[in-house]
Subunit: 420 residues, 2 copies
């Protein structure tokens, strides 16, 4: 080898001599939360111009510098403003009127997933109506238009039982466990107001689902991506752990029998094909003590459980989502390392994260992702991931770092809470 | 495990209920090129508010959404505008008057690295004056104030020889190999104009260095980070390959004898300690056919060779740079996988990257990073990295993807160019 002439190394980044490049593609995303924020980070790598629909500059994706259209996801004109100049429109959340999306598609805009697919993730009743007859297993369930429907279901399947709002996004209208008829009686008026608010949303389904209460052995999520042309890439199933109703921890590989994991993967791929998914899809599954693998939830966008792919897989779910909605070849979903992710749920309203952050980084293997959200008790302000030779070690380290960052008790399944 | 109440999963990113969080820290970066762009991506993960000094909105970091101060790195008032509101000021390039930096520091702003450290990377003559007496090995060299200095050096050390501009950033004023006195004669008037432009820059050193011409066995770069408090984290040395004077390919682990790699790491750490580095530092080394390990170049910022750490190491150099300049605990520099990186040097001026991009992504293990720069022949518009079980396989795949993306000949050391 001969020493060659070379430019002076001491210039760092080269100056740009005028003119921005043509973007690789233009993608619009409805919503500007943390999923849009991390999608923006990924879009930069591909030269994709991502614009988001946001209510204001404090939203996480806007604060991260994503170009944005000011507007409300409930306003059709705002959706049109986003769709104009976007080759593809995709989603950061589900709280968008399905009728608006159908109208957008009818007007010629490309939505990925398509409205008739996306609604499966927007409405739990539709999900069961579509996927149930196709043979996908759900917990025993029925529609709940009124308190009597719940009582009848309880008489048949026993108590406790679970009520799930069919359409999400109202504060406090999520999932409730009812221990018995007395609990139902106390809440009936609030659950089933005389005025039928559901009508206003243009849905023909019931406001609530009632489901059997399950004794769970474990939960897992299968995250995959599907292109419109049909190619799929499925990540290894991710173990999930809920605490007080919020997904708190992820682990991969998931600690479930291999046969169950294979079954979950197969089920997720079949669901994606059945509904014509486009983009990232997450299928949350229950594995019950009596050995049933059941569908819990479905999301058709990047998903909290997929955050672990950012470091643990070859391709992050955010890069993958862009590739999938643009119908580009998908990245490898292969696992690079066992890993654990802990969601950072703010323990208080004081903005002391900056002070604690360097302490949390004392573990040199912690990967931190903050979402640009002010801490408020119970709010998910970020997540952190640790890779390890085994999941247990990674989870221990991730829990410790999260506790330090939040100034909270270390989560310890054995119950021995310990101040970090 | 008991099935628990949980919020409706179908909401995606949560809405932000007003108010942005306090940033984890405020960092100012002089320059807004691709290094600043990728630092911005990393800063988002840590909730660090990074603002950059840029000439306009087309610069890569500004196009990526980094908050910015409009200005010139050569203007003291613009540097002050950046430094105000920044806890720490750091750098994307070296083309900043050292006197301005000294004045900024004197005015109480925190610069990392400090001006007296940074100048070692700004001026190759200063580097040799500082590091030579401390025992660090450079190629034989001397100052070149005029053509006679070069001739005398050639008489003593033989021809060809190498001329290096001591301070960078002028187009065409980089590194030149002079085959003999005739070549010098032809260029002397351009190299040494009567009017001494160097005086204007406030430097007391010579405009050029003259160095022995080396027969190289290999080149490598050692990238490390150092905190002001002294902690260091050193990545495994990275093999580099130059083509036509531009760093074209990186591989890790570097294909050099273990003893040489250990020596290079030790040298880099000693250099960092000697000059009091703060932030990322890259030491580019020559390994000669006659078995000498020599210092080539020094950078005190994230560096092109460090791009391979984004996927190949536990902690990317951009996260690491932020941690280091903020004096936070450093991340692990451990290697996660053998890897190869190919810089994307535009082959032409046509903006056809968007069309070729999906083709380049047909290899599911390609990690692409575009810099938001319009393609122009010879311009570095991005890089891509492939991880593999071994470096050779990763390099083959990376070369192929780069060639597809650029519509260029596949680079093949064996010389058998092949249209992708």
């Amino acid at each position: 080898m001969r020493q060659e002439a070379q430019p002076t190394g001491g210039t760092g980044s080269e100056a740009v001599l005028g003119g921005a490049p043509a973007p690789s593609a233009r993608v619009g995303m409805v919503g500007a939360g943390q999923l849009a924020r991390m999608t923006h980070q990924a879009a930069l790598d591909y030269g994709v111009a991502l614009q988001v629909l946001a209510r204001g500059e404090d939203e996480p994706a806007v604060a991260a510098g994503a170009p944005w259209v000011r507007g409300e996801p409930g306003c059709y004109e705002d959706l049109v403003a986003l769709a104009k100049g976007s080759e593809v429109v995709t989603f950061d959340h589900e709280v968008i009127p399905p009728a608006h999306l159908r109208r957008l598609a009818d007007a010629g805009h490309v939505l990925r997933p398509a409205p008739e697919t996306f609604v499966v993730s927007q409405d739990k009743w539709v999900a069961r109506e579509v996927l149930g007859p196709a043979g996908f297993p759900f917990p025993a369930h029925g529609p709940a238009w009124c308190a009597e429907d719940v009582t009848r279901f309880g008489d048949r399947h026993g108590w406790p039982l679970v009520l799930k709002a069919t359409r999400g996004g109202y504060d406090g209208r999520g999932v409730r466990v009812l221990e018995g008829p007395a609990a139902l009686g106390a809440q009936a008026a609030a659950l089933f107001p005389t005025e039928d608010r559901q009508r206003d949303e243009g849905s023909e389904g019931p406001p609530w689902l009632v489901e059997e209460h399950l004794e769970l052995a474990a939960e897992c999520a299968v995250v995959l991506a599907r292109r419109p042309s049909g190619q799929m890439a499925c990540y290894p199933p991710i173990g999930t752990r809920q605490v007080e109703g919020i997904c708190r921890e992820l682990t991969v590989p998931a600690d479930l029998p291999r046969t169950v994991l294979e079954e979950a993967k197969g089920m997720a791929k079949a669901v994606a094909g059945t509904i014509g998914a486009a983009g990232v899809m997450a299928l949350e599954c229950f594995w019950t003590r009596d050995g049933r693998l059941l569908v819990n939830e479905l999301a058709l966008r990047p998903h909290n459980t997929g955050h672990i792919t950012m470091e643990a897989a070859v391709t992050s779910q955010f890069h993958q989502h862009l590739r999938a909605v643009l119908d580009w070849p998908l990245g490898s979903p292969a696992l690079r390392s066992p890993a654990a992710t802990v969601n950072l749920i703010a323990a208080d309203d004081r903005a002391t994260v900056p002070d604690r952050l360097p302490l949390a980084l004392e573990d040199p293997r912690v990967h931190l992702h903050l979402y640009g959200k002010a801490p408020r008790r119970g709010r998910k302000i970020g997540h952190l991931t640790v890779l390890g030779d085994d999941v247990g070690e990674a989870l221990d380290r991730a829990r410790r770092a999260a506790a330090v960052l939040l100034g909270a008790e270390v989560h310890d399944p054995a119950g021995a809470g310990r101040r970090a």
